[in-house]
Symmetry: C2
Subunit: 429 residues, 2 copies
């Protein structure tokens, strides 16, 4: 039997850190009623003294020096909430070196350096818990680790970025342009002042790497993720998608294929009847396809101080349980297999394509030939509204290897009657 009272230190008192303190104040007694030992928030560090003061805690618990948490022998668990790679990575390593369990919500760092830090934790007979790093308040890491231990996950499909999901929802429901939807998201706090990481898909890619590591037990590398953001999607695409029974979502897709892992972030047409289609506004969901369970979905708030704090405190309880019962590592996350990656060109997909074409005889024939030459067969051809002497054409292909599609596409865009810069969006198959 280990210690009866587990002491927790927090590094980083920003929005999420304050959320953790607030939820601990409100529900700390509840938590301690639910477990047969005690967890106490003992110390909080942040460089910014104003942030510390805003926590409304006993001054003796506060410090502007992270080392006062990381090196305090009385602290058993360190919650890292400063975000970014450094100094977060060094802080976590220091906490582990000092024999402390770690809880973090840091997706960038877990995606980039999670495996090296988890290896250090294993070496020290400790562990790192990171439920809040993907899907905010959605229980996801724990189910992937524990509930699917007897199952084989073949594909992970995630709506893991609230900003872009909010933008697509507003574009679809209120016929807004991407720019207007983004401004609204920023006004309501669903998008940051600099939304680059969200809009360009980097945030989703970090989360995909973390999920793929766990779901497949294989090494997922951030640099091997094919990343496309949402900039190319217009209101018209969303309207056409709806007409043919689809909605558009930014998806994080991880597949465990015989040739390796295929990892990608891109907007995709999702069939209306798919459970991911009804994930609206800033909400997130992860859909999992597996051998035994076949299909599972986990849905909820992907961000926000309270949901994220609930996930962090559930990790604190799990870490505390390890300490209390001397379980050492809890669940070991072993070395990941390295099976390599499938380049995007080798992935098979259906494509939606929208472009303007001069409305004259023979154009459709050249178009059809260009696709046929590369073995790309068409599932749907719709000629839509006319703009002057131009017709708008929407095509949907059958499943095709990306590189074949792009060869066909370069032939198609070479036809002079076809105007440049078509909209191209993949379909979820």
């Amino acid at each position: 039997m280990g210690k009866e009272c587990i002491r927790v230190g927090l590094v980083g008192a920003g929005t999420i850190g304050k959320g953790v303190v607030d939820l601990y104040k409100r529900n700390g007694d509840l938590i301690n009623d639910r477990i047969d030992f005690a967890v106490t928030l003992a110390k909080v560090a942040d460089q910014d003294h104003k942030r510390l003061q805003a926590l409304d805690l006993d001054e003796k618990m506060l410090s502007t020096d992270a080392a006062e948490v990381l090196d305090d022998p009385e602290i058993d668990i360190v919650i890292e909430l400063i975000g970014g790679i450094e100094p977060a990575r060094s802080f976590i390593a220091q906490a582990l070196e000092n024999g402390k369990y770690v809880v973090t919500a840091n997706k960038d760092m877990m995606a980039r350096h999670g495996q090296e830090l988890l290896a250090l934790a294993r070496e020290k007979n400790l562990n790192i818990f990171y439920e809040a790093s993907v899907g905010g308040g959605i229980p996801l890491i724990r189910p992937l680790k524990h509930s699917l231990v007897a199952d084989r996950v073949s594909r992970v499909l995630g709506i893991v970025n609230g900003t872009t999901n909010y933008i697509f929802t507003r574009m679809a429901q209120d016929d807004l342009s991407l720019e207007d939807a983004l401004s609204e998201a920023q006004r309501l706090g669903f998008a940051e002042a600099d939304p680059t990481n969200d809009i360009e898909g980097l945030d989703a890619a970090y989360k995909l790497v973390i999920m793929a590591n766990l779901a497949f037990g294989k090494k997922a590398d951030f640099d091997q993720v094919h990343i496309e953001g949402i900039k190319g999607v217009t209101y018209e695409d969303i309207a056409y998608a709806r007409e043919i029974g689809y909605t558009i979502k930014l998806l994080a897709i991880g597949e465990d294929l015989p040739e390796g892992l295929a990892l990608r972030i891109h907007p995709a047409l999702v069939p209306m009847e798919h459970p991911l289609a009804s994930v609206l506004n800033e909400l997130n969901a992860v859909f999992i396809e597996s051998e035994a369970a076949k299909e599972l979905m986990f849905y909820g708030p992907g961000a926000g101080p309270m949901p994220t704090a609930a996930a962090i405190l559930s990790d604190v309880v799990e870490a505390a349980r390890c300490i209390r019962f001397n379980v050492s590592n809890g669940v070991v996350e072993g070395e990941l297999q390295d099976t390599g990656f499938v380049p995007i060109g080798a992935v098979e997909c259906r494509f939606y394509l929208r472009f303007l074409v001069e409305d004259r005889a023979g154009v459709f024939a050249s178009l059809a030939n260009a696709f046929a030459d590369e073995g790309v067969s068409l599932d749907m051809v719709i000629q839509k509204r006319r703009v002057g002497n131009l017709a708008e054409v929407v095509l949907v292909t059958h499943e095709v290897r990306e590189e074949a599609f792009h060869r066909a596409l370069s032939k198609v865009t070479g036809i002079t009657a076809i105007k440049p810069n078509p909209s191209i969006i993949r379909l979820l198959g």
Copy 2:
């Protein structure tokens, strides 16, 4: 440190039992790769020797006598899959008395006797795991126990019966009558030959009791669940519901109210944009409303041998981990608070009401007065198709206490121009 190799015995080799054996054969090595100790299926008992032979296991592992599993000192974990109250309850008690951890998928028994058996497990420093008892392959019990430890659940909304969800889906999509949809469900194996427990809501009620105990930490009593089955819902109701933006689902609803727990099973109109509305066919989902996370949903297969087996084997790993690391109880589920129950009459709800009325002057006025007298205000009044000299009327009330609604209803049905036996369905608010 406890034992390095954990031996598992299985009692009950029906469909689910065979699923567990099959999944263990297929993924046993995978499981043992993922954990740092070994789990072995050592013995299987079933009264029916034919069932045992169908497992295709070494004859030495098989027995027609459950005691050979329950009393074997070499067995560490007993999986109970015989279902029903007795002898399952006695078998589980016997396994606990003999110092074994228990894994079960038995919803009836956990709903009726779960608390007494969990108390026995606590006394013996053991535990019972029952992930598969609600929602089949959906990770649900484990997230409720662990992930929401810092949160307060206020409401649980479940589509937890696959048979009735399949029936409503077919009625809505293919304009089938309830009887035809049920026959189809039986033909496809989504409904049993005797579907009473499903159709009448008992199966959902068992699952609700288990969820409510865990989600609220309060004593839920099967006999306090208000249960209405799906028999009263017609194809017409589904069509009218769709017209006003709703779909119909059989819901298991548990609420933690200041006056006590309100527990009920009934069909309900669910807004099309609610995530539960897109749970189709035989699939299940549980939607959770809580203080911190606000809304969460867990979606997946509610039944079937493979999904259920995956849940059972994940419980086996959790039990094995307790034994391996001497964690004794793992997570303690303590004594539940007894806060009493809210009778259905005191619950507030919106109602949908459909009836035939003689189409003559003054009828609408008497109708409106009957509702007004009881303080029931109407949100929507639609006069629909005519059948001879009868008009079909659909009403939707604002939120109203059930007993007030029923007082108004008895006045309404007392109006001679109104034909008896209206359709009455609650709305999810």
